[in-house]
Amino acid sequence: MKGRRVTDDAKRSGFSRRSFLRGGAAGALSGGLTTGLLTGEAGAAAADSEATETVGPGPVDVELEVNGATHRLAVEPRVTLLDGLRDRLDVTGPKRVCDRGTCGACTVLEDGRPIYACSRLMIESAGRSITTVEGLGSPDAMHDVQQAFVDNDAQQCGFCTPGFVVATAALLARHPAPSEPEIEAGLGGNFCRCGTYKGIRAVIAGGEGGGVSGG
């Protein structure tokens, strides 16, 4: 098999459909389908010559779910999930701060797992389900974590807060009543330059405003 040159005129139609199927296959695999691991044989059944099509650098149709709604949009492969959410879908909760996978302000859930949206290409999230801070709750119907951030005054300038809220929700999904080391490790991927860590710890462990873990 020879590699293809990158072309602008690669077939664009149906990419989202294939991506959707691909997302499904990857999900099944991570569920424990390891037959053929490291042998290269597992792929034979899934072989699809269309899947080797090179798309881009121009816009490519991508379909993904954001906060429960299905979106279809054309984005260049180089567009990150963060920029696609903010600039194309007007989902501006995830913040662009370091844009290098370090600060955590862009944290979103992808199929329930916390990731840095700045370090994922939007095309890589095709067929997957994204939850941002907006998807956790609204000002009228706040998620417990959002309410606890308010109650514990766990923000100052607030720019890191959306990422911290999502990371905290992910931490509590994994450890409903986390220990102090689990809190530190679970939020180790997020920075607050104002230094509101005390309030954020109180969000989880319980402070004057009450914590979400009931600790």
Partner: protein
């Protein structure tokens, strides 16, 4: 980021075919590569996404053999009770990647093949960081995090969290390429480049790291990392050790330093000091001294020699289950 094409192969064979073309790079978790592309340190014509490639993700524990697919995320490996029970040191190495988001996105193959953190490389001066007239920016500049075992012109350090442990274990890398599958010791994945066009890994164009395989039975391993910060940073120094033999006696010892050299640094002399010996504070100290024998620190990283000694001593203590 500059524009690039994108392909999402379904099989290893398709991926290998796509990667053989010039200007194509494999995309795993993306946490390193996308930053390099944003900073224009690396350029690609096309990314070959490995996320949907069948057979690259998963963990198998078959008797004493542990197989880990290259696209397995660090978090999936950390959550695999069987793998962690068989090789507890894995938990230490993975937890050192102290960001849940990076563990969820980062893959085993991506950890092994992440590019060096050398700030001259990251600023676009190349892996060797030489001036136009051939002088080293590293030796003449700020080298506090650089190698204490530089190799020729290569003075960066290998940044992988898993490589020292896998090398200590004698693990094999499974590589697929245009010519089919080949297996090599994990340490043979790495090289110290001596020319601007050379990389720090030995994969040929079109080759793809499919996973690693290690025998985890009959030995005890440990990892010890010396860190400046607990969160979101690479260690200053790391040591991984694998001991065979029981109790306080080591039949054979393999000692590997991370963040010490352009490749995972096998401290063969240190292992030899312990082979066939009782582990005592004296023999362990002798091994720690042997591990840094021949070190050639630069102007700002002499402190890493003592960190290496300490990391070796503590890793040995943890592996043997004794206070040393």
């Amino acid at each position: 980021m500059r524009p690039f094409g994108y392909a999402a192969p379904a099989t290893v064979e398709q991926a290998v075919g796509l990667l053989a073309a010039e200007g194509s790079e494999a995309l795993a978790g993306g946490t390193d590569l996308l930053s390099l592309l944003k900073d224009d340190v690396e350029r690609v014509d096309r990314l070959v996404a490995l996320r949907g490639v069948a057979g690259l993700s998963g963990i198998e524990l078959d008797g004493g053999t542990l197989r880990i697919g290259a696209m397995t995320t660090l978090q999936e490996l950390r959550d695999h009770d069987g793998a962690i029970a068989a090789l507890p040191a894995l938990a230490v190495a993975i937890d050192g990647v102290a960001s849940p988001q990076l563990r969820e996105m980062g893959t085993v193959g991506g950890d092994l093949l992440q590019r060096p953190r050398c700030w001259y490389y990251r600023r676009g001066f190349g892996l060797l960081a030489l001036t136009a007239d051939g002088r080293s920016m590293v030796t003449e500049g700020d080298n506090r995090y650089h190698a204490i075992f530089p190799t020729g012109q290569a003075r960066f350090v290998n940044p992988s969290s898993l490589a020292p442990l896998l090398v200590a274990l004698g693990a094999e890398a499974v590589v697929h390429g245009p010519g089919g599958e080949r297996r090599l010791p994990v340490e043979a994945l790495y090289q110290a480049p001596q020319a601007a066009e050379e990389r720090e890994n030995t994969l040929a164009p079109g080759e793809l790291l499919a996973g690693v395989e290690a025998n985890v039975a009959g030995s005890r391993s440990a990892v010890y990392e010396v860190r400046q910060r607990r969160s979101l940073d690479w260690p200053l120094m790391a040591a991984a050790v694998t001991l065979t033999g029981s109790g306080s006696r080591a039949e054979r010892a393999r000692i590997v330093l991370g963040h010490a050299a352009p490749t995972p640094h096998v401290a063969a002399a240190a292992g030899d000091v312990l082979s066939g010996q009782e582990l005592t504070p004296e023999t362990v100290a002798a091994a720690a001294d042997a591990a840094v024998e021949g070190a050639r620190p630069m102007s700002g990283n002499r402190y890493k020699i003592q960190l290496a000694r300490t990391a070796v001593r503590r890793a040995l203590g943890h592996a043997a289950g004794m206070e040393i």
